[in-house]
């Protein structure tokens, strides 16, 4: 039985429909990604699910409860890490965890969480003195301290440097299999690719794709892309003539070729026959990033056409 069920969710601000008929469900223990560009309606949507905003239509069940009732039982079953929420500067890590633990009927042991989140050394450090990554890990800890069935994490790694981001990802990977369901809001594809079991992509308040991260990437008809530095300069027309090649560009030493799945071997063979070797070769599969760009671009395209047709 799904632990989160959202059906036809709608939220309107004045004339603007921010969430426009979103439906999905998340199973217990899943890490579920909500992706989308900035301003797509992700935060509004999860704030409706978290009981922070009143919805204008549709239904939401979280652990069998309706967020609109705002009950204590609902808030105990759900942990939320909010975008841009801070703690008082002079509150220490340990104090924050103990304080939040006192709010819940069956909290986790703060010491266990400190250990798990790698914050043991910072336990007496004031919030203001923590690094960005440590602040975010503490924020995750506070979302989990109540032993929730569902945790919503909104833009967890935005604004973190790559090292801090990886720290937070490692932590979330450790949580997999503990039974807690994670709803991860992000506009960061690498994050979703690495962590999420399933994702939905939201744009203009609607779901434009729903799949596993791999499925999403594979379904996009994106070209394979290779780039290399040839041993000598040559006529790019040689490559353009190949059936597997869709496009060739050169920038300085570097040549970039896009084409079908076979493009890499076709290019290397063709150049080898002419005595040209291929240096510093790089081949990229279409990633979730490409899928995301393709999807959101299609969405804009569909909208523009729609407007014209009308």
């Amino acid at each position: 039985m799904p632990v989160i069920e959202v059906a036809d969710l709608r939220k309107v601000y004045g004339e603007r429909t921010v969430v426009d008929g979103v439906s999905f469900s998340v199973e217990q223990g899943e890490i579920f990604g909500v992706l989308g560009p900035n301003g797509a309606g992700k935060t509004t949507m999860v704030e409706c699910i978290g009981g922070l905003r009143r919805r204008d239509g549709g239904s939401i069940r979280v652990a069998g409860m309706d967020p609109a009732d705002e009950g204590v039982a609902f808030r105990s079953a759900l942990g939320i890490q909010l975008q841009e929420s801070r703690l008082p500067d002079k509150m220490s890590v340990e104090e924050a965890l103990n304080l939040y633990a006192s709010f819940y009927p069956e909290p986790h042991d703060p010491n266990v969480l400190l250990e798990r989140l790698g914050l043991v050394e910072q336990r007496r450090t004031y919030f203001a003195k923590l690094s960005g990554g440590q602040k975010q890990r503490l924020s995750v800890a506070l979302a989990l301290i109540g032993n929730p069935r569902v945790a919503i994490l909104d833009e967890l790694t935005t604004g973190l440097d790559p090292v801090a981001r990886r720290e937070v990802w490692d932590l979330l990977e450790d949580l997999r299999g503990t039974g807690v369901t994670l709803l991860l809001v992000s506009h960061f594809m690498e994050e979703a690719e690495r962590l999420c079991d399933r994702v939905i992509v939201i744009d203009h308040g609607r779901i434009i794709a729903a799949d596993t991260p791999e499925g999403l990437a594979a379904n996009v008809a994106a070209d394979q892309r290779m780039s290399f530095s040839p041993s000598t300069s040559f006529d790019l027309g040689i490559l353009e003539a190949l059936p597997d090649v869709h496009g060739v560009t050169a920038a300085g030493e570097r040549v970039t070729v896009t084409g079908t799945d076979n493009v890499a071997s076709a290019v290397i063979i063709a150049l080898h026959e002419r005595g040209i070797s291929v240096g510093r070769l790089r081949v990229d599969q279409p990633s979730l990033d490409d899928a995301f760009v393709a999807l959101t671009r299609e969405d804009v395209g569909a909208r523009t056409e729609g407007t014209v047709a009308r």
């Binding site: 978290g50 009981g51 922070l52 905003r53 009143r54 705002e70 204590v72 808030r75 105990s76 759900l78 942990g79 939320i80 909010l82 841009e84 929420s85 801070r86 703690l87 008082p88 002079k90 509150m91 104090e95 103990n98 304080l99 939040y100 006192s102 709010f103 819940y104 009927p105 506070l142 109540g146």
Partner: protein, 260 residues
């Protein structure tokens, strides 16, 4: 969603363990940021102790209608402290907590952010009462007079504190920017101190101005404190004025306060 009104209705379900933890936590934070409290408390407390210690200041003065300088100023200073705490310290903390997302964060937990507001109110009130006791007890020990009607003095003080804390909450409700709230709080503070008689003592005000002062919370409270210091009961008018200010400001604050 107007949260505070719902919360007031749900007050009986309060989680007292959490409320105690919150109060302890806020007290600790206050102790770590003592500057606000020290600067608010030190001036009125020091002034009333010094005034109480100077014999000339304790002598009756003709220009003050037979009252001594100390008798006129002690109530003003007692009220000065609670006004400063309620209109500066309280909105400052609450608007900053709102800006930082602390209140919104609490909304996601089973404990309401109203518990945090209450903890702040309790702390600010406790500091104000501490200041008031210092301003009454220390001067009396060095030779000034005790309030002759301590019960009436206390009742007037509590009603005055209610009106001021309500006003402070209202400032925190109406202004979302901490700096704007602080600025408006200062403005209100000076207006209230004017009507309390800080610069122009109430006995010296023209009667029309004294009538205006009578219906301000500061004028009513200070006159009530003066009356009870002398052994009288505060006038009904002043008590009613304080109760009305208390009710109206509290109700409006509850109505307009938002968590984010």
């Amino acid at each position: 969603m107007s949260g505070l009104a719902t919360v007031v209705r749900r007050l009986p379900q309060t989680n007292w363990t959490a409320a105690r933890a919150m109060l302890r936590s806020e007290a600790r934070l206050l102790a770590r940021n003592p500057a606000v409290v020290i600067w608010t408390a030190i001036l009125p407390v020091a002034a009333s102790i010094i005034l109480g210690a100077i014999p000339g200041v304790r002598a009756p003065s003709h220009t003050l209608g037979g009252l001594s300088f100390f008798q006129v100023y002690q109530p003003i200073l007692v009220f000065f402290a609670i006004t400063l705490l309620a209109l500066q310290a309280l909105p400052d903390v609450l608007t900053r907590y709102r800006e930082m997302g602390v209140l919104k964060r609490l909304r996601t937990t089973p404990v309401s952010p109203a518990v945090l507001l209450c903890a702040q109110l309790v702390l600010i009130f406790a500091v104000a009462v501490g200041c008031m006791l210092l301003m009454v007890i220390v001067p009396a020990l060095v030779g000034a007079s005790w309030p002759r009607n301590p019960g009436g003095f206390l009742v007037t003080y509590l009603l005055g504190a209610w009106a001021m804390l309500g006003l402070g909450m209202l400032v925190a409700s109406l202004f979302h920017n901490a700096k704007v709230a602080a600025g408006f709080g200062s403005f209100l503070f000076f207006v209230l101190q004017f009507f309390a008689g800080l610069w122009w003592q109430r006995p010296e005000m023209p009667s029309w101005l004294r009538h205006v002062s009578d219906v301000t919370p500061s004028g009513a409270a200070v006159q009530g404190l003066v009356d009870t210091s002398l052994g009288h009961w505060p006038s009904t008018l002043h008590l009613v004025v304080l109760v009305v200010w208390g009710i109206v400001t509290s109700r409006l604050a509850v109505r307009f306060f938002s968590w984010e």
